[in-house]
Structures are given as structure tokens and as C-alpha cells.
């Protein structure tokens, strides 16, 4: 096996970090909504931060971020950041795919085109010559 190459196992781990990160993101959005503050200015920053800290969803989100962190560190110990980071965009493809398969949502042609470009980009990036250690 070439050192630094993106194997199927590493791609699986990257997808896993994406899932954890997406779940964290949803909880974070919930936490922001529950503060009841909209269009926060720099002057309101301290009050906004304080009000975020007491929102339960913020801590659920942090938990999922911690899971994401553990897997991500394992990924980074194996591959270059300039390969792992772009490969993380596979989430933009998985979400529309899952919405069609399980939620029977209509996914527009433009969205499929975008997903295809992303897949092509990930293939390019992961085929780039790995660093020799």
C-alpha cells in the first residue's frame, strides 16, 4: 500500500466525520435559534456568547463535534490535509443522494450536476500523488 494514499477505509472515516459534523451543525443552528437573537452585531457579541452557553443543543453539538474530532485526528495521521480536507466535501453529495433514496425528495438537475462536479473533484484530489514519507 502506498503511504498517504486515500484507501476505502480512510474515505469511510472521512464520511463518518462528515456525518458527525452535519449533526453537530444542526444542533448548533438550533442553539442559535433558541437564543432568540437575530442579526447579531459585534457589540452584542458578549451577550450572544453568554446566551449560547446555556443552550442545551450547543452541548449536544459539542458532543458530536468531539466524535468528529477523534475520527478526524485518525484521518490526519494517515493523509495530507490538502487531500483530506477537500475529500470531506463528499457530504454535499451524500445528502441529496439520501434525500432522493429515503425521503423521495425531488433533487434538481442543477444539484445533481453540482454533486457530479464534487465527486469528480474528490477523485482528482485523492488520485494526486501521495507524499512519500
Amino acid at each position: 500500500m502506498r503511504k498517504g494514499a486515500v484507501t476505502l477505509r480512510i474515505m469511510g472515516l472521512i464520511v463518518l466525520t462528515d456525518v458527525f459534523e452535519s449533526v453537530a451543525e444542526v444542533f448548533f443552528k438550533k442553539a442559535v435559534i433558541s437564543t432568540g437573537m437575530a442579526g447579531v452585531s459585534i457589540g452584542e457579541l458578549a451577550r450572544f456568547a453568554g446566551s449560547l452557553l446555556v443552550q442545551l443543543p450547543l452541548w449536544y453539538g459539542t458532543f458530536f463535534y468531539a466524535l468528529n474530532f477523534v475520527v478526524w485526528m485518525a484521518v490526519l495521521s494517515k493523509v495530507e490535509l490538502s487531500v483530506a480536507f477537500p475529500a470531506g466535501s463528499v457530504t454535499y453529495v451524500i445528502v441529496p443522494l439520501l434525500s432522493t433514496l429515503f425521503l423521495h425528495e425531488h433533487v434538481t438537475a442543477l444539484r445533481w450536476a453540482g454533486s457530479l462536479l464534487i465527486v469528480a473533484g474528490i477523485c482528482f484530489v485523492s488520485r494526486s500523488a501521495p507524499e512519500l514519507k
Binding site: K3, M73, S77, L81, Y92, G114, S128, A129
Partner: protein, 124 residues
Amino acid sequence: MNIYYFFLIVVHEGFSTAEQVLLKKSADALSPGGLAGAGQYARFFIRVMRSPLVWLAFLMTGLAWLIWFIVLSGVELSVAMPFDSIQYLMILAVCRICLKERLDVMKVAGTLLIICGIILVSAS
């Protein structure tokens, strides 16, 4: 979306990019010769949690989130997403400058394709 949020998105990306570089530097420094087996991974994570560099990265994460939350308080996610994809370029730059990773045509072209893809996905 006005310039205020665009500025915040860029600042958010800066913090988030710094976080990634610090994590990558830590992962490399703390896993000499690569990792194999559960025992090695467990010892790796003990070293990770004791590394000042990793805690600096957590500070960057906190700042990146805080700024991102302000963005989300005023802008729809689908509006913010295309601008957020600028971070892919930042990552390429710091990988070259700070981590001395090799950038070849495949990597750069692939990253540009991904950015175009994200813009299309979020436009639809």
C-alpha cells in the same frame, strides 16, 4: 447578504483553517511512523489531549464557531455556503506554505471542481 457577513465568513474561515493546520501538525508530530492497532491509537489520543498545540486548535475552533453562529443568526445557510467554500483555497495555500505539502495539478484542479460543485449545489 451584506459586506458585514461576508467579512465575518472570511474571518470564520481563517480561524477554521488555522485550526486544521494546528491539528495536522499535531497529528504528524504525535504519530511518528504511522499508527496501527487499537493500542497505538489509544496512546496517540492520550498524547493528542496533552498537546498544547491541540488546545490552541480548540481555541481556534471556539472562535470559528462563535463567528459562524453570528453569521447563522443573520444569513440563511444556503446563502452562506457558497462563500464558505473559499476556505478550500485557503487550505490549499496553508498546506503549501505551513505544512510544505506538495500541490500538483490534480489537487488544484480537483479543489476548483469541488468549489464549483458546492456553488451549484447551494444555488439549486
